[in-house]
């Protein structure tokens, strides 16, 4: 659970309280949701017409086979003069062929649907995942990540059920309804109108019902998200829960969330049962209406008895797909609920985007310029009021100021985690908004307070900083990567530390790097930043004390890392400011002093007061 240790300073200061939030569901209507959903997963429509044609054939088979059976009985078994074996065999064989063909069509439809929807959903998952990363909102606390994870896992899974079966069946059902209606109308237009009229109240009722079903399913999705949040307390916070002996209370909170989910689920099931069974009721009630009305019409001479019998058969052909349609529409509400939650992620606007005409900047010593930069979080007061600053290349800059002074905001603007409201932040004279992301991230690297490590080896984690390589793929590659990482540790004076690890570079760091100490995690993070080889390094100074030996190593490694580079350090220690070439003092959103330490310390301003107070307290 130690990922939440000293929470990275950059992430926590101001952004969370004011940053954009991912809505829990999108506000799109049902059809807009479906349209948008398909738009996001265009693969779903791959070859949909062929699939639909096959589905019609498969559905046709379902009608043809009973007909073939019917003919076998009428013309074969009940043939005049006793059963006609030859005819039976011929017809049965024909029926069997029909069965196989329909079965093959059905199988093909299923396979095609699985292929296209899974392709579409994989795209959707990845798209939502990427979008979450593109949002700065993600720089939030780790405690409720579970709920966000659900958006790319469980919520997407919910969609698949409907799409793999419902979408096509809905179209086939509508087709069947139309065909049945046409046939019924041919026998008796009057009765057909009556049948349709019977269904009108049902359709109206269904509209209301479906809306409720949708709300119920949406509630289920939300409750599942909240439940995952509660459960992650017991998983991510396992150590805290035990150390304070609060299993009972945590258990209670989880039970409440599980119970709330259960109740929401039961409620959704009730509604579906009511809506579906009302469809069943109307479908069968129609039979009674047709019998009564048909008999009267028959008595009046408008219909023959045979026609009524045929009509009754057709009505059942009509009500079958109507019931199927009800069922599919219910399922669709569940899919829509999941879709809405995924779409809500994708639709959350990205605050920081790459300009279409963005350029790559040449590598080299970095110069950073802020021109009248004003910044405020949406709806909030100004955090920076028109700040201007020019930091020459290869300068070590320390930014100091109290919590809330805006010093962290400067770091976020320089690394373009956010854009200023007014003014520009420039890298070598180019507005950051005009610099391509690839170029920007290559030249400017932020090193957060707490280096997060992935579950893997020390080697893999350090190599994560390498620009072109992902993970070692080929043996040659792997050798090169290993050499580069090994060199990096050597350059940073950390080879001896690597040797003390049980498996050297191949030592597993555990989940979130927990197998290493906080200081060791920082060492790996420094090596990672070193391998990223930026021109400008923005350091959010770690405040945690670590054991003395590690502290010494970290200090040395940082010296090697920053050598010859432009660095901006968000300093939490005055000693860091003393060692810097240039000190920038931020107070209440303004840069109040800029200059070398010695100059500022003697200037009699805020910095000298800070320094004096610090000196008196530490000596």
């Amino acid at each position: 659970m130690s990922a939440t240790t000293a929470e990275p300073g950059i992430s926590e200061d101001e952004l969370d309280a004011n940053g954009a939030r991912i809505e829990s569901v999108s506000s799109l209507g049902v059809f807009a949701t479906l349209r948008r959903g398909v738009q996001l997963s265009p693969e779903m429509l791959n070859g949909v017409w062929i699939t639909l044609a096959l589905a019609v054939l498969a559905a046709g088979g379902k009608v043809v086979v009973p007909l073939a059976v019917q003919r076998t009985i009428d013309d074969g078994i009940l043939a005049e003069g006793g059963p006609d074996a030859g005819r039976v065999v011929t017809l049965a064989a024909l029926a069997a062929v029909g069965l196989v063909l329909a079965g093959v069509c059905a199988a093909l439809v299923n396979v095609r649907l699985f292929r296209s929807t899974e392709a579409g959903l994989a795209t959707l998952r990845t798209r939502a995942f990427r979008h979450v990363h593109d949002l700065s909102t993600l720089t939030q606390n780790t405690e409720r990540r579970g709920a966000l994870v659900a958006r790319v896992t469980n919520d997407v899974d919910t969609i698949s059920l409907f799409v793999q079966w419902g979408g096509i069946m809905l179209l086939v059902s509508v087709l069947q309804i139309l065909v049945a209606t046409a046939l019924m109308a041919w026998y008796s237009p009057v009765l057909t109108v009556v049948v349709w009229v019977c269904f009108v109240p049902m359709f109206l009722f269904m509209r209301v019902g479906q809306r409720k079903v949708n709300a119920a399913y949406t509630l289920v999705r939300e409750r599942v998200g909240a439940m995952l949040g509660a459960i992650s307390e017991s998983v991510v916070g396992a150590e805290t829960v035990r150390a304070y002996g609060v299993s009972a209370r945590t258990g209670r909170r989880i039970s409440q969330a599980v119970e709330a989910t259960r109740r929401a689920q039961r409620r959704s099931m009730e509604l579906v049962a009511i809506v579906f069974s009302s469809g069943v009721f109307v479908a069968n009630l129609v039979l009674a209406v047709v019998v009564v009305l048909g008999a009267w019409l028959g008595i009046g001479g408008a219909l023959s008895a045979g026609e009524i019998v045929a009509f009754l058969f057709l009505v059942q052909l009509f009500t079958g797909p109507v019931q199927m349609g009800t069922e599919i529409l219910n399922e669709m509400q569940n899919a829509v609920a999941g879709w809405r939650r995924v779409i809500a992620v994708v639709e959350t606007p990205v605050e920081v985007t790459e300009a279409p005409d963005a350029v790559d900047l040449p590598r080299g010593p970095a110069r950073v310029t802020l021109r009248d930069v004003r910044f405020a979080y949406s709806g909030g007061p100004d955090v920076l009021h028109g700040v201007s600053l020019d930091l020459p290349p290869r300068t070590k800059v320390a930014v100091v100021g109290q919590t809330g002074s805006g010093k962290t905001t400067i770091a976020k603007l320089v690394t373009r985690l956010m854009d200023p409201v007014e003014g520009t932040v420039e890298l070598d004279g180019t507005d950051l908004r005009k610099v391509s992301f690839a170029s920007l991230r290559e030249r400017v690297v932020l090193v957060p307070q707490e280096g997060f490590l992935f579950d893997g080896t020390v080697l893999e984690n350090a190599a994560y900083g390498l620009r072109n390589g992902t993970r070692p793929t080929t043996p040659d590659d792997a050798g090169e990567v290993r050499a580069a990482v090994s060199d990096a540790f050597a350059e940073l004076g950390l080879s001896d530390w690597v040797e003390t690890l049980p498996d050297g570079l191949d030592t597993q760091v555990g989940q979130r790097g927990e197998a290493l100490s906080a200081g060791e995690r920082q060492l790996v993070a420094i090596a990672r930043a070193y391998l990223a080889a930026p021109d400008l390094l923005v350091l959010d100074e770690a405040t945690s004390a670590v054991d003395p030996a590690a502290e010494v190593r970290i200090a040395r490694a940082l010296d090697s890392l920053t050598a010859g580079r432009s660095t901006i350090t968000i300093a939490h220690r005055l000693s860091t400011a003393e060692a810097a070439d240039l000190v920038v003092v931020v107070d209440a959103g303004e840069i109040v002093e800029t200059g070398p330490h010695a100059e500022l310390a003697a200037a009699g301003g805020i910095y000298s007061r800070m320094h004096a107070s610090w000196v008196s307290q530490t000596r």
Partner: protein, 619 residues
């Protein structure tokens, strides 16, 4: 909970357990389903009767039949209503059963999450654990949706079979051919489906895991601009899941039409055999027609069974994955011992304590973290544990809160083996504060008390303020508009690393522990604040609390009566700081390392005390 035996046996046990857990619900669901079966037959009988006995004669001019038209309408209406009610009941109770069973699994899982030791949690990624409660729980219970339907309509099969035999045993046997075919088809299906579904569920967990880890690393990803790389990593796993899901889909796509068409095949067989029997004069042609009709009656139940069989492989896999957690042992067993009531500190004794852990890296096996630790801490003493990284400090102190048990030897609290104490006894007397602090999504008050308001024994607001004061966090909280009610966590105010640690200390102090264990708990706190906190503890009444702390700062060590020097899993020396400085060269080296580095930096023009947090100074 693990299922054993053949696949059939495991399937049956799985379904039986779920139904037995909610007998009332399933009795009602199956009854409703049986009624549905009867009514399905009832509808066709009623329509047949209405046609033959009412409509046809009425049109033919039969006055009595004309009087029965309304009766026919009422009968059909009543049948329709009963049918609809049976459908509603079946679906509702089946839905209840599904929701209840899934909630049971979630409760069982989360109970384990709370019960299993921290070491177990370290070995199981959070994403996977969260996924068990959603995807796996849904998979394990998916079979409960169609199950009552299938069981209820068994009535239809039994009726049909009995009637078939009463017509002609040969015809009956011909009709029953479809049953062994179903069994064979299902065996083949399961053989292909089980591995496919196992892989798909595994990959679902992996997708959740990658997402969880990647979202946790969000700031790092932004800092290095590796969104593309993370996307590729996620897309690869999502792509694997897609392929696995398609594989599952293909197996199902082929199996579904086979099962669905079996009744039609049965009908054809019956017709062929029927023609032979009728030709030889053993049965009447009408009987063959009746037999064919009875087979169509089996379509619905066989379809329902197809659904159940189709869901079973997934259910077994989900159930197994849940069982692995539910059956995991390693939870700590509790005794019945109580610690004697006392206002004084707790006495602590380690007797020949050794701890081994399993290593899962390159070389599997066990690694010894502690060996032969003998240590006596008198009640009320303040002890500092000092040693280099990897010495075993955290392992040692975590034994005191019983986050795990020693592999060898005993840990005695006031003379009682920690393992013999009753559940809840240790947290009531011992508070462990770790370096990392998990902040709950709750108010400040609840984050300190870790109790619900008004809960028995929950501290009063005064006590909370007092704890916050001792942890030097009271000013920060007082500045919040809502004070103790201010929300913390994702949607609330965020605390800096140092503030989080102080919150954890307040959390510990409010419980007035007799033993306070600080595992590097003040690393992010300013040293002077740390001093104030530690002095505050002392003024609370010396001797009232035994304090054992892992310390990296000599200023903290100076507060301890006794220093324990730990290295390489063993105690090197124990005694007051001065004595150890005099006689323990290893300790001397360690203690001076920090000082030496500080001096080196001073010579280099840097500051001596690098610990100062600027924000604290500036305050």
């Amino acid at each position: 909970m693990m299922l054993t035996g053949s696949r059939t046996r495991r399937s049956l046990v799985l379904m039986w357990r779920g139904m037995r857990a909610h007998p009332g619900t399933y009795v009602l669901a199956v009854t409703a389903s049986a009624l549905f079966g009867a009514m399905t037959v009832g509808v066709s009988r009623a329509v047949g009767w209405a046609t033959d006995a009412v409509v046809v004669p009425a049109i033919a001019g039969d006055e009595a039949a004309r009087d029965r038209i309304w009766l026919a309408g009422v009968v059909l209406g009543a049948v329709a209503l009963t049918l609809a009610l049976s459908v509603a009941g079946r679906r509702m109770w089946a839905g209840y059963g599904f929701s209840d069973n899934i909630a049971d699994h979630r409760s069982a899982l989360t109970t384990q999450y709370l019960r299993l030791p921290v070491s177990w949690h370290r070995a199981h990624p959070a994403g996977q654990l969260l996924n068990h409660t959603t995807s796996d729980a849904e998979a394990a219970n998916g079979v409960f949706n169609p199950l009552p339907f299938a069981l209820g309509v068994v009535v239809m099969i039994v009726t049909a079979v009995v009637m078939l035999f009463s017509i002609d045993p040969w015809l009956a046997l011909a009709a029953l051919v479809i049953f062994p075919v179903t069994v064979v088809a299902n065996t083949i299906y399961q053989r292909y489906m089980s591995p496919a579904v196992t892989r798909a569920q595994q990959l679902r967990g992996d997708v959740a895991d990658v997402a969880h880890e990647s979202f946790e690393a969000a700031l790092l990803v932004k800092a290095l601009g590796t969104e593309g790389r993370e996307e590729a990593r996620f897309a690869a796993t999502a792509g694997d899941l897609r392929a696995a899901n398609v594989r599952v889909g293909v197996v199902r796509a082929i199996f579904d039409p086979v099962i669905q068409n079996l009744p039609a095949i049965g009908t054809l067989v019956v017709l062929a055999v029927g023609t032979w029997r009728a030709g030889s004069g053993d049965v009447a042609a009408g009987d063959v027609v009746s037999a064919a009709y009875l087979l169509t009656m089996m379509t619905v139940p066989l379809m329902a069974f197809g659904w159940v069989l189709g869901e079973l492989p997934r259910a077994l896999v989900g159930y197994d994955r849940i069982s692995e957690v539910v059956d995991a042992d390693g939870e700590l067993a509790y005794g019945t011992g109580r610690l004697p009531a006392s206002d004084g500190g707790l006495g602590v004794r380690f007797e020949r304590v050794g701890v081994d852990v399993e290593v899962t890296g390159l070389e599997r096996g066990t690694r010894t973290l502690l060996e032969g630790v003998d240590l006596e801490v008198p009640a009320g003493a303040t002890v500092a544990v000092v040693g280099p990284t990897g010495a075993g400090k955290t392992t040692l102190v975590s034994l005191l809160a019983r986050l795990s048990d020693p592999t060898r030897g005993r840990v005695l609290l006031d003379g009682t083996d920690a393992r013999e104490l009753a559940a809840g006894e240790i947290p009531a007397h011992v508070a462990l504060v770790t370096q990392s602090t998990f902040v709950f999504e709750d108010s400040v008050r609840a984050n300190v008390t870790l109790a619900d308001r008004g809960e028995d024994g929950s501290p009063s607001d005064d006590e909370v303020w007092e704890a916050l004061r001792l942890a030097r966090l009271d000013d920060t909280i007082r500045a919040y508009p809502d004070g103790l009610d201010a929300p913390l966590g994702e949607r609330g105010a965020n605390l800096s690393g140092g503030q989080r640690q102080r919150l954890a200390i307040a959390r510990a102090l409010v419980r007035r522990p007799r033993l306070l264990v600080l595992d590097d708990a003040t690393s992010a706190v300013d040293p002077r604040v740390e001093q104030a906190i530690l002095h505050g503890l002392a003024e609370q009444g010396s001797g009232a609390t035994t304090v054992i702390m892992v310390a990296y700062r000599m200023s903290s060590v100076a507060l301890a009566d006794t220093v324990v020097h730990l290295d390489d899993g063993g105690v090197v020396d124990v005694g007051p700081h001065e004595e150890l400085m005099a006689r323990d060269p290893g300790y001397r080296e360690l203690a001076t390392a920090y000082q030496a580095e500080a001096e080196r930096r001073e010579r280099a023009g840097d500051e001596t005390d690098r610990d100062d947090e600027l924000q604290e100074v500036a305050r």
